[in-house]
């Protein structure tokens, strides 16, 4: 190397060798592969269901059943996906759902009818999210610990409110939403809410500054901070969002089960994390897919459905669920490593 003169406006800087297809296709291709893989798994499940139980499985009622049952955990998973994308974790989602569902179904709350129940569920969810967010963003607590503490306290409070009793809902307008023939725009109300949350979640993550900041914080919090993003405030909002989703999910659960109970939302945290992970969201943050998470939820719900229709017992269901998680992550690792 001798003298190297470089005209100011002519970029002759060496570029790193990029093998294979252009970068945009690599990126687009990977997103497609991921979604296609999940759709493929879902299609395979539908095939299995259709072959083993042609009458019971391939039935609009069953489709409605699967989607309805996916709604509650689905809404929680959308919130969880945001938190995981930001590099955090929310272990308290199940407990928040439980607390919101019992608080919203106490005799006192039910006196205020539909609005009272909905309002209480959402406010309790957001309130718990606020506590999580403040502890994590401003108390500098590790999300794992802060939300674990919330898990314990919210479950405890839910127990205290109910004394272990089942709180049956007596407000007809709430119960009606979960009835067999309740449709809004031809869709069961729960499914409609699930779909709306999914679409809004997708738009927020992919089309708004909020979503970008979430991804930036999760991808590299230090870089985000040095780029001028208020990382702490963003974290606070994210746990609020997760709490909001839990509140909505609690209301859906009240509608679905017609009651509130302190044992509600059992192990939702694990189901939501698992669905997000098989949907392609990195547990370390920085990358996430709402659609993938929702497909993850649908895969799990469909498995449960097929197993129940075939009268297979809990043990087999759990083994299959574990196997699917491992398989999905391995497949994605393989597709992701081809960059």
């Amino acid at each position: 190397m001798t003298q190297h003169v470089s005209p100011p406006r002519d970029g002759t800087g060496k570029t790193a060798p990029v093998d294979g297809p252009p970068a945009w296709r690599v990126q687009l291709g990977r997103a497609d592969v991921r979604t296609l893989t999940l759709l493929g798994v879902l299609a395979a499940l539908v095939l299995i269901g259709g072959i083993t139980q042609p009458d019971a499985f391939l039935d609009t009622r069953n489709l409605q059943l699967v989607l309805t049952q996916a709604s509650v955990i689905g809404v929680v998973t959308v919130g969880m996906t945001f938190v995981i994308v930001s590099g955090g974790i929310d272990l308290s989602v199940g407990a928040i759902v439980a607390l919101a569902s019992v608080w919203a179904t106490t005799v006192a709350t039910q006196e205020y009818g539909f609005v009272g129940i909905l309002f209480t569920a959402v406010v309790v969810g957001v309130g718990c999210g606020l506590v999580n967010g403040v502890l994590i963003a401003f108390g500098q607590m590790v999300p794992f610990i802060a939300t674990l503490a919330m898990l314990a306290s919210a479950r405890g409070l839910a127990l205290q409110i109910t004394d272990g009793r089942t709180q049956v809902v007596t407000v007809p307008s709430v119960l009606d939403l979960g009835e067999r023939d309740a449709y809004i725009l031809g869709i069961p109300p729960l499914v409609l809410v699930f779909a709306a949350v999914t679409v809004i979640g997708w738009l927020v993550l992919n089309r708004t500054t909020f979503g970008r900041r979430t991804v930036a914080v999760g991808g590299n919090a230090e870089a985000a901070r040095l780029a001028g993003i208020d990382v702490r405030r963003q974290r606070l909002y994210l746990y609020l969002l997760s709490g909001l989703c839990c509140g909505i999910a609690a209301f859906l659960l009240i509608v679905l089960a017609g009651s509130g109970q302190n044992t509600n939302g059992n192990l939702y945290e694990l189901d939501a994390i698992a669905a997000a992970i098989i949907g392609g969201t990195l547990l370390t943050g920085g990358r996430g897919h709402i659609l993938g998470s929702v497909l993850g939820v649908l895969i799990f719900t469909t498995i449960t459905n097929i197993f129940a229709l075939n009268n297979l017992q809990t043990d087999v269901q759990q083994i299959a669920k574990g196997a699917i998680i491992v398989a999905a992550v391995l497949v994605q690792r393989r597709t992701a490593s081809t960059h």
Binding site: H4, D10, V18, A23, T209, V215, N220, A223, G286
Partner: protein, 505 residues
């Protein structure tokens, strides 16, 4: 030297990571019984080289010969079996295990193949510690309870617990006080007397002169000098090799005349306890001010404090005459500051994201309404900014991790260009940038200044500061020791200032 081949001979070693070539054809010969010093700035390739030697990295090309025979160091265990031990700067000890357990970790003396013979381990550890001149260290104590200096002794005992022929020491003196350094040197002398070779890495030139036999200087992934005699090579020559250029660059022309107008950035009495003394500094639009100094002179700390990433213990920062809220990056960015940090990947880039999203992250409000991003406008703005900097490839959707170091740096600059910042803070702008792409980056920075940007530049490469900046502040141990227009300074003068603190007249 002797007709027999050197103990270790590395030749033509190259190693690339995505976006950067860390080693570019390095040669290194080490004789049995010598202390071979390895010198170089941060990022020169020293740690990559010793990781190759330790079997932790596999070189892309090049050969390694051990006692004349070609070998492949497939894993750290393979290197250890040959007799190569490495003592890393961040000691890799298990704090919750005892000294003896650490020393014998992975090769515990056992009975019947699996029962650890604790007493035998302790006895042999005690012997090793005695040999190292530290019989007072109790083999039964937990390593986490020991002071840093003793932990290093443990690390060394671990190396000696193998049949070691070559020990690599990565800045072993960094955590030691002078007495301990003396003991370290005594140990090194004992080892070499037994025929063990030592590869010694340090920033401290005086140490190298005390114990080194030969010196190899690394720069930009190349060995710019190999096997210089440690005692007789003048310090200035060594420093010049470290901080100088192995390639002559043409730096962009400085504009005629001095920049006019009020200072856009004024720093008054800014200080951080233990890092740098009160500092005054003014930069006008169109001006590039450089901070020159060695590692530890406080240059990066100053930059990060100005940016609000560290909180000042005293002083004030004004942008366009308005004081900044201290310790707030957001306030700094709002006021028009932008930082291109030293560790690009760790501190600036979102490695999973595209160029566009990396460029737009600080200016999202410019193409969003009510939080809703107009992606067309975003792409257009990012494309315009990256084109202006001639970022290659000309594809805003490319993942930023596939870019070369120089183009990654351009992506960071494009971010601030798009944000419309007034003051650009550059920390080691050409670190990890291929040699060929540097001149272009210089041109970009100068052009941005010509368009009215104020630039504060930090670099450990003296010619870079002298070539690019209009005005230079020379730092030593957190203090400005000299300030002058760049054209009135030359490399030798700056080196003297950096090392001595006063111009050697």
């Amino acid at each position: 030297m002797a007709p027999e081949p050197p103990l270790l001979s590395m030749s033509g070693i190259t190693k690339s990571f995505p976006g950067v070539r860390a080693l570019d054809g390095v040669d290194l010969d080490v004789q049995a019984g010598e202390v071979h010093c390895l010198l170089g700035q941060n990022g020169a390739g020293k740690s990559t080289l010793i990781k190759v030697l330790a079997g932790a990295h596999q070189p892309d090309t090049g050969t390694i010969r051990w006692r004349g025979e070609e070998v492949t160091l497939r894993s750290p265990i393979a290197a250890m079996r040959l007799g190569i031990a490495t003592i890393y700067q961040e000691l890799d000890l298990v704090e919750d295990l005892s000294v003896a357990e650490n020393v014998h970790l992975g090769h515990e003396p056992t009975a019947a193949g699996f029962v650890v013979r604790g007493r035998a381990a302790k006895a042999s550890t005690a012997q090793l510690l005695k040999r190292l001149g530290h019989p007072e260290v109790d083999p039964g104590r937990l390593v986490g309870e020991l002071p840093a200096a003793q932990q290093q002794i443990v690390s060394m005992a671990r190396a000696l617990s193998h049949d070691v022929r070559l020990i690599v020491m990565d800045e072993p003196s960094a955590a030691l006080d002078p007495d301990e350094v003396d003991n370290l040197f005594r140990i090194v002398a004992d080892l070499t007397a037994e025929g063990v070779a030592v590869v010694y890495i340090s920033h401290r030139l005086e140490e190298i002169r005390r114990i080194g036999d030969r010196v190899t200087v690394l720069k930009d992934g190349r060995a710019v000098a190999g096997g210089l005699p440690a005692e007789s090579t003048p310090t200035r020559e060594v420093v010049a090799l470290m901080t100088g250029r192995n390639v002559e660059y043409v730096f962009p022309e400085r504009p005629a005349g001095t920049p006019e107008g009020d200072p856009v950035l004024s720093v008054r009495g800014l200080a951080r306890e233990g890092e740098f003394a009160p500092l005054d500094l003014e930069i006008r639009p169109g001006e590039i001010v450089g901070l020159a100094g060695l590692v530890g002179s406080g240059r990066s700390e100053i930059l990060e404090t100005v940016y609000g990433a560290r909180k000042a213990s005293a002083g004030q920062i004004l942008v366009d005459g308005t004081p900044l809220r201290p310790g707030s990056v957001r306030a700094a960015v709002r006021a028009g500051l932008g930082l291109a940090p030293e560790e690009r990947k760790a501190q600036a880039l979102l490695m999973l994201e595209s160029v566009t999203r990396n460029v737009s992250v600080s200016a999202m409000s410019r193409f969003s309404r009510g939080g809703w991003i107009d992606r067309g406008a975003e792409l257009g703005a990012a494309r315009a900014a990256t084109r202006e900097l001639s970022l290659r490839p000309d594809n805003p959707s490319a993942p930023v991790r596939t870019l070369s170091g120089g183009n990654q740096q351009k992506a960071v600059l494009a971010r601030w260009l798009l944000r419309g910042c007034k003051v650009l803070l550059l920390d080691e702008p050409t670190r990890g940038v291929d040699v060929g792409a540097r001149a272009e980056l210089y041109a970009v920075v100068r052009r941005l200044a010509d368009e009215g940007l104020a630039v504060l530049l930090v670099s450990s490469e003296v010619p870079e500061v002298l070539g690019l900046a209009d005005r230079v502040l020379v730092l030593r141990e957190g203090r400005v020791v000299h300030e002058a227009p760049a054209r009135e300074l030359d490399e030798h003068r700056v080196l003297d200032l950096v090392m001595e603190g006063s111009p050697a007249s």
